[in-house]
Symmetry: C2
Subunit: 125 residues, 2 copies
Amino acid sequence: MVTTSDPVPGFTCGLDATLRVISGKWKPLILYFLLQAPNRYGELKRAVRRVSDKVLIQQLKELEADGILRRTDYKEVPPRVDYSLTPLGRSLAEALAPLCTWGTENMAEVSRVLAQREAWDRGTG
Amino acid sequence: MVTTSDPVPGFTCGLDATLRVISGKWKPLILYFLLQAPNRYGELKRAVRRVSDKVLIQQLKELEADGILRRTDYKEVPPRVDYSLTPLGRSLAEALAPLCTWGTENMAEVSRVLAQREAWDRGTG
DNA sequence: ACAAGTATGCACCTTTTGGTAAGTATCAAA
DNA sequence: TTTGATACTTACCAAAAGGTGCATACTTGT
């Protein structure tokens, strides 16, 4: 099979386009927290529990490059930087809201099912 | 640092829960296509362009294990199997709709910005 | 004097994820 | 009879993604 690799993708649909922007282990969570308000780097880092510095910075940079968020460096010392959503970013974060709701409503179901899958993975994997 | 690994996660929020279910390169696309037309393996494979058999099957299995979709094997020969959303799956797929819309509305922006990032990645990498 | 907090960068390494190519059983069309 | 379609499976491998730990430069609190 010849996986025709397009130099400029050309998405199969809107969802495809969106996924290119939000794929990254912590990106949706970053957007979610930024929508509520926390902005300084340290706060974000504490909000997005268990993320490593390297990856958090990296994903913030990508989101900035994609015009989703804006970085403001106050040039103070000790360093003070904050991150906020651009209008584009805000609209994206809002589009994520139904997923939050879904997760909240089905959290019990999800955690049950995920626990099962882990057990099963250990047997199969 | 000691990354406290929880045996049973305990999500930080609803979004976190949802992400556990839909993470996988092609899962959201699978849900999206199944919402429009519950259907056969081969059709799905053609719809989700560029996915490999191995991964498509694997993600279908996980979604089935998670109660998102249902697999029906007609026990015919040549094989005939189809996949459809469960009610839970349908609600999830519906929650994805705003992301499709967002992607469609901002597709130009997204592809521009993504092309830039690729160029930049090659410089920085 | 020393630790801690601040926002990052970097080298190195592990884990996770996904892809390739081959094979299975059966039937129908060429 | 060879080919192709069907829905998978498996072994092997490459790439992507993420994590760890150390370093920076300056300040505030102990």
